[in-house]
Chain length 216, copies 2
Amino acid sequence: MAQSSRERYRAQVRADIKGHAWEQIATAGVSALSLNAIAKQVGMSGPALYRYFASRDELITELIRDGYRSLADAVQAAAGTDLLELAHVIRDWARADPQRYFLLYGTPVPGYHAPADTTAISREVMVVLIEACAGTDGPPTPFDAHLEAHRDWIDGHPATAATLHRALSFWTRLHGVLSLELAGHFAGMGFDPALLVAEEVIPDQHRRSGITGSSL
Amino acid sequence: MAQSSRERYRAQVRADIKGHAWEQIATAGVSALSLNAIAKQVGMSGPALYRYFASRDELITELIRDGYRSLADAVQAAAGTDLLELAHVIRDWARADPQRYFLLYGTPVPGYHAPADTTAISREVMVVLIEACAGTDGPPTPFDAHLEAHRDWIDGHPATAATLHRALSFWTRLHGVLSLELAGHFAGMGFDPALLVAEEVIPDQHRRSGITGSSL
DNA sequence: TCCGTTGGTTATAGGTTCTAACCAAAGCGA
DNA sequence: TCGCTTTGGTTAGAACCTATAACCAACGGA
């Protein structure tokens, strides 16, 4: 609880290191992250940094953890709003630091396995999404039935399989547009990705309005 | 046309180098690609490789180009089939070598700009998708109207804005599921991503069948 | 005050990309 | 066949990187 002077100093230096690490990642990507460069920036030379992080991988793992935490905080702060608002919150969070988004959801490094707690934080995000999807079920689909048999991952959450399907779909569709947008694959096409996100995320409403009305 | 002996040798060595490079990328990711290791594998030591590729970045750029070409070939070989078949062709192509997929559509490196011809190959893929989407238009949406004003990127293709929208949506949805699947973000959830892809890619059919029928 | 823990240093090993300098061999025209 | 030019290879080395080892100063609690 009450930190000693040394613990406080240590925590502050670690935060300082992580701050400069985020800077480097934001400007040059995680592959260009250099412990030597960070050490110089925080005012110590080279190997001193290994007193605070055992290795480059451990520092990156810590950053990934903090990244998930930051995303979960942003999403939970918007809990209770509708899917469109949630999509914009997540998109804004990602666009504030694209390389941070890609650190979580970009190219995986083949050997690496995320620590267990990051998947727990991912679950927090998923729960907010599921909550927002509750009650927006459309007609049942074959995948809903399939999901009914594979819902252990959300383990005990009282949502229909159709709702889980909607949440999963929200996640994959948003990620689809967002990651292509942030990676620059829409460069040259002049359209506004936000508008595409809007229709991807609340899919049936627009298309079906005026056809089936509210007869569901 | 007729290559000289030297040109043939050079082309063969370059292909050999690229082959070993793909091996390394498939097993350890592009960030672990080592020119030294490749050189040893092809039997020459270190800097000799620079006679064939000016830099590591140039080799990677060449691999990216070949990757796009390979994807476009796979997609064009399936041209004329329906969207579900196209989705499976692309998914199978990606799953055959996930790191190759991520080389094209994964985390972008901040400084890097793809050469112009790769975007031209991307366009080839897009044209096949658009062709497959033709005639599957649903009711018009606001984004269709927006796309009508921003269709320069496909420049002269005689497709409705609604069709372009469907093709764009096909691309982003497939990429959304596929990249999360390949990155391992579905690990632990037991569902079959192929089923999710199927419903994402032919979105309205399943949901609407039995409601609006074929009244469109 | 003493002494262990902690946080810093420099030196060094082994890895990387890439350049420089040098050399051998292959191809080609006279 | 001779000789020159281009090409493909070598080794050496500069400038980075991660990470470890060895050493030392300074801080904190008994």
